[in-house]
Amino acid sequence: MTQEHDLLRITDLQVDFNTFEGCLHVLDRVSITARMGEKVGLVGESGCGKSTLGRCIVRRVRPVAGEIIFWSERLNNVEDIVSVTDSIWKQLRKQIQMIFQEPGAAINPVFTVGDQLRAAIRFSAPTHIGKSQIQRRAIELLQEVQLSDPERIMSSYPFQLSGGMQQRICIAMALGVQPSLLIADEPTTALDVTIQEQILRLFNDLVSYHRTAVIFITHNLGVVREIADRVYVMYAGQVMESATTDELFENPMHPYTRGLISAVPKLTGGGIIEGIPGHIPSYLDPPTGCRFCTRCPDVVPKCDEVRPPIGSINASHEVACFLYGGEAS
């Protein structure tokens, strides 16, 4: 794992929101990496800061500390997204695309799909290209996301299409820019299960085909298992555990990960599963140590005082918990 191959390396990212109630410590020293073409899952329950992390990468949220190092193929250079100038960001941003939870909200309601798709192609083209060429590319993209009858789709307005179709269009627009990193923020959560399956498969095929690196933000462990090569488990703004997907599901180590996996409702088993008792701690005054200590079944006294260091179990498995060694420094 040489650092040259890291497409994105986030180190010790810290985000605070100032509100009337006080300062919310939303992200606490989060570090994640994504290599070229790697599919990284980011799991955690609602409100754990995973979307905030995604919005930091696209500069919608300003972190108070930490860095987001992005390797730009086009500039052949690494840049810190947190501190780059606007003019460099203008070149960087096309290499990072985002897909959103609500596909309907990501398409402008007052224009036809074709208008927007063509605009997206025009902006992403390195040089000026002709109208017929844009049109051909737009049709190509819609075919790529398996929308039949592209001409008709292009002349419709977003609200005339179903959620699944809208999300396909969003994927087409994002991939049309040929990004090296795609941030997918719960892209299938708003869709029903059968459509979700189709979209996931399509998404998976396309990013593998284009070798796009993906940060897949979701609360759904099943989705992560299908998509991701590697998974980060987040809780209340801290990364608890990271491992390759198979490793994580076979050998979950952090008490939170184990709780999360056992809390997934099974289609086969009867009865309501227990889940994890308790709630996410307040971001106003979270424990200074591990933020899961208020709900952890295996809590030890020092947990709420000292942040457990991230320990490597093996080359591809890291966990931040005192249960697995790691003396307080």
Binding site: V58, R60, K90, R93, K94, I96, Q97, M98, F100, E102, G104, A105, A106, I107, N108, P109, V110, F111, T112, Q116, A119, A120, F123, S124, S148, D149, R152, I153, S155, S156, Y157, P158, F159, Q160, L161, C170, M173, A174, V177
Partner: protein, 300 residues
């Protein structure tokens, strides 16, 4: 296949127009408003052909027929110098409409552009500068200020329009500002930005089209207020000067002959009411129309 057929039908342009008309015409009053405004506009455009005595619009005297009450040859009667009140009222629509149209067609773009910039730059210095100036204008009573500006510039139709325009743009600035401040955080704006769209595209093609419906509604309603304000300025002698057949001026000169020769003032007043009511009904209809449309967009 059925879904696609439905999409095809829905996206055909003529069908879209018919659907819009169906929804708009469900509210009877907005149709009344539209018809009223249509009549006023047609009368204004074709005034020289419709008015029975087109020459009476200018400086004509005909003392033999002065102060005649409404009769078959002069439906609205004649004024103190013997001009046909009906003809002058029909010509009066021209000045009223022109006043509203000119004022709004200058004030609206100015306000919209400033509001767009300020809203997009919310929190930066440009926002503060534009919006504080806007606030100052909004704090001044419009009629009094228009009177003042007009008095300084001197009484004439053009100066009345200038005065009204100066007092009008801040309303559009604030309307658009509020909307842009919300719209700029929409996901599709972020999506376009990430796709490499530059600022002019974001402002003009992503954000502005989503404000148009409320601007259009406000313009229709403001048309009524502008006509009233214009008539008020003319009434106090700061707008169009006699013998221009402006409705406000006609009311002013006619009011000297109340109540004996009531028709000289009352018919122009009724013409003003007719016009203002039409624009108000149309504006309300448009507001409902756009509100329903937005609900439908939200539902999906």
């Amino acid at each position: 296949m059925t879904t696609l057929q439905r999409i095809e039908r829905a996206s055909s342009r003529r069908d879209g127009f018919r659907r819009s008309w169906y929804r708009f015409s469900k509210n009877r009053l907005s149709v009344v408003g539209l018809v009223t405004v249509g009549i006023v506009v047609l009368l204004a455009i074709f005034a020289p052909y419709i008015a029975p005595y087109p020459k009476d619009a200018g400086a004509v005297v005909n003392f033999r027929h002065a102060n005649e009450p409404p009769n078959w040859s002069h439906l609205f009667g004649t004024d103190d110098v013997g001009r046909d009140v009906l003809s002058r009222t029909i010509f009066g629509f021209r000045y009223s409409l022109m006043m509203g149209a000119v004022v709004l067609s200058i004030a609206t773009p100015v306000g919209v552009v400033l509001g767009l910039l300020a809203g997009y730059m919310k929190g930066r210095w440009l926002d503060s500068v534009i919006m504080r100036i806007t606030d100052i204008f909004l704090a001044l009573p419009p009629l009094i200020m228009a009177l003042l500006i007009n008095a300084v510039l001197g009484p004439s139709l053009i100066n009345a329009m200038i005065a009204m325009t100066i007092m009008w743009w801040p309303w559009y600035c604030r309307l658009v500002y509020g909307q842009v401040a919300v719209l700029r955080n929409e996901t599709y704006v972020l999506a376009a930005e990430m796709g490499g769209a530059r600022r002019p595209h974001l402002l003009l093609k992503e954000i502005l089209p989503n404000c148009i419906s409320s601007v259009l509604t406000k313009m229709t309603l403001d048309m009524a207020i502008a006509i009233l304000l214009g008539a008020s300025l003319s009434f106090v002698g700061l707008g169009a000067q006699p013998p221009t057949p402006d409705l406000g001026t006609m009311v002013a000169s006619g009011s000297n002959f109340l109540p004996d020769f009531w028709w000289i003032a009352i018919f122009p007043v009724m013409a003003i009411i007719f016009t203002v009511l039409g624009f108000n009904l149309l504006g309300d209809g448009l507001r409902d129309f756009f509100a329903v449309e937005e609900q439908e967009l939200d539902k999906q």
